[in-house]
């Protein structure tokens, strides 16, 4: 869908693409600041090196006080700063949930539209290989239920950069999820700044037999499965919403109109997941388009366990996706 830049076929890591987006925004607008625990060094990597160029006031280390610094951004944004917060790990949102869900998400609405709150909260999240229960959460479903937060979840380095630019330019609180395991994936990313509009999905692979809506780290899995199933004569379309709030239902429904079959793959626990939401919405609006029961692929409803075979049992696998596709085709 997005014209890839013609000026370069430079391939970089996803995490570098995020960083390029951040660097571009720090350069473009001096009111942009990046804060978080050890953002100077950056354990995950999205902010690494930025402090050298922009100094310790614009790339600022915080104490371990998530509730407070998440909330500080509300006041700061209200008076003119454009804060970007590195929350490091998805489950740390829990510590700051009130400031996110009751403050950042509600202040503009409660004020009758008096103020805009340009804030980005980004985090690495999801299972990364035996990080265990408290470091493997993907809380995007929770946050989707909180009105007032835009939510993005890119799946490629190209989207990661373009969505970071849009997230920082947006005048609302945006939560940006980097599925942990995608950080080390590579892809072609133009050097210049570009943006991908929030709320616009992308067909990552065209197909005719079944629509697989995949989110974040589920996208490469879905593409891999599609490749394999092609050989069996099954033509899989892979739709990446890229933004979860607002969700591009036009694109999803248009695809289902063509294929008549739906699988949704979410890198999150099943109950009340984005997968549930998408299946419910498509069923509600597009019931007559569906030739068979839509299927969800998501984690088992347990915390993510530590031991590798246990973790593997819980999270989504290629074979789960294959089974779901076979089920909707049956």
């Amino acid at each position: 869908m997005n014209a890839q830049s013609t000026t370069t076929d430079r391939s970089i890591y996803f995490i570098e693409a995020m960083r390029e987006g951040l660097r571009g925004m720090l350069t473009e607008d001096e009111n942009v600041v990046v804060i978080g625990e050890d953002v100077g060094r950056s354990v995950i990597g999205a902010t690494r090196g930025l402090v050298e160029d922009f100094g310790p006031m614009r790339v600022r280390n915080t104490p371990i006080s998530e509730a407070t610094f998440v909330g500080m951004c509300v006041g700061a944004a209200a008076v003119g700063l454009r804060p970007v917060v590195d929350l490091m790990v998805g489950s740390f949102f829990y510590v700051a949930m009130d400031q996110l869900a009751d403050q950042a998400a509600k202040l503009r609405y409660m004020s009758g539209g008096q103020v805009s709150l340009p804030i980005v909260y980004f985090t690495a999240s999801g299972p990364s290989g035996s990080a265990a229960a408290q470091h493997s959460e993907n809380p995007h479903p929770m946050l989707m239920n909180v009105a007032g937060l835009k939510i993005v979840m890119p799946s490629t380095p190209y989207d990661a950069k373009g969505l970071m630019v849009s997230a920082v330019r947006d005048n609302n609180p945006v939560v940006y999820f980097q599925d942990f395991v995608l950080g080390g994936t590579r892809g072609v990313v133009p050097e210049e700044l570009y943006s991908i509009p929030l709320g616009v999905g992308d067909i990552k692979r065209h197909g005719t037999d079944v629509t697989v809506v995949a989110i974040g780290a589920a996208v490469p899995k879905a593409l891999r499965v599609a490749e394999v199933m092609e050989k069996d004569g099954v033509s899989v379309e892979v739709v990446d919403p890229r933004t979860l709030v607002p969700m591009d239902y036009d694109l999803i429904l248009e695809s289902v109109t063509r294929t008549g079959r739906l699988v949704v793959v979410d890198n999150a626990r099943l109950t009340c997941s984005a997968a549930s939401e998408i299946v419910a919405t498509v069923t509600e609006r597009g019931f007559d388009l569906l030739k068979s029961a839509p299927q969800r692929v998501a984690w088992a409803d347990v915390p993510v366990p530590f031991s590798p075979p246990l973790e593997e049992r819980v999270v989504i696998s290629d074979s789960d996706i294959v089974s779901a596709i076979r089920a909707v085709l049956a």
Partner: protein
Amino acid sequence: MATQKDLDHITKDDALDMLRRMIRIRRFEEKLSVLFKRGKLPGFVHLYTGEEAIAVGACSALRDDDRITSTHRGHGHLIAKGALVNRMMAELFGRVDGYCRGKGGSMHIVSFELGIIGTNGIVGGGIPIGTGSAWADSHLGRDNVTIVFFGDGASNQGVFFESMNIASVWKLPVIFVCENNGYTEWTPTAELTAGNIVDRSAPMGIPGEAVDGNDVVAMRLAVERAVSRARAGDGPTLIEARSYRWNGHNEGEEAFAGAYRPDAEQAEWRERDPIVAFGERLVSAGWMTRDEWDAVDAEELSSVDAAVEFAEQSPFPDADEALLHLFADDSEGVR
């Protein structure tokens, strides 16, 4: 107690304005109490009667472009910071001329123009927000300061300590004003709260000052000192203002709360009416006559009556406004 000498530090105009605002708050709140009993006010209502000196003293030490965050017991802060009673009343009635077009109500009235940047129903919720505006102001090289108002009960929320720590380390121009009215809802705060709240800033390297919250001049002078420090880049201050709320925790509490406050305690605090105390000082200083005082009172009373009329005549917002104002949409040019 502030002495005659303290009055030398404020101008007569300021003093008269402060008295007027205290009276405005009192009359506004008393009216609300009546309206609530008549079933005219939707939702929860927490009144500020008795605590007027805190908000007025504190906000009188601010410039118009300084900022505050407020609480569930917020009407006094808003009036002290310059909010109009008619637009406040319209908000409390859920009308379109309210500050938030009826979306906020009693616990969420804000006016960013007036520097009221958050009014919270979550106890302690505003503390990080005001710390954040102070951060932005200092980062952007402005000399504005922010006052964060919160209650004695809120002093047990973790964000209070977290915010003090970060404000200290980042030397932020924020003033933490704890309004200690002795109660956390219906429980004496001493049963829930270790030590003295004013001491809680000491380990953070933040000066703490206990002030008679019924003495508007003492309040103003304490906040002036804190403002000077903040504007000079010397960081935050904690002020614990001791006062008392005359009304219940919320209007309607008699339905279940019982007699949780000794009559003698209530009488004693009513004796120490901050408005009467200040008015009498102004009279004895020769800055005002009793008649002038009465005239101010009458004016404020009628402005509150007018506010009720204003509110009642303001229409409810169109129901579909419920779906607006969630997101700033650049294409609509909404700020």
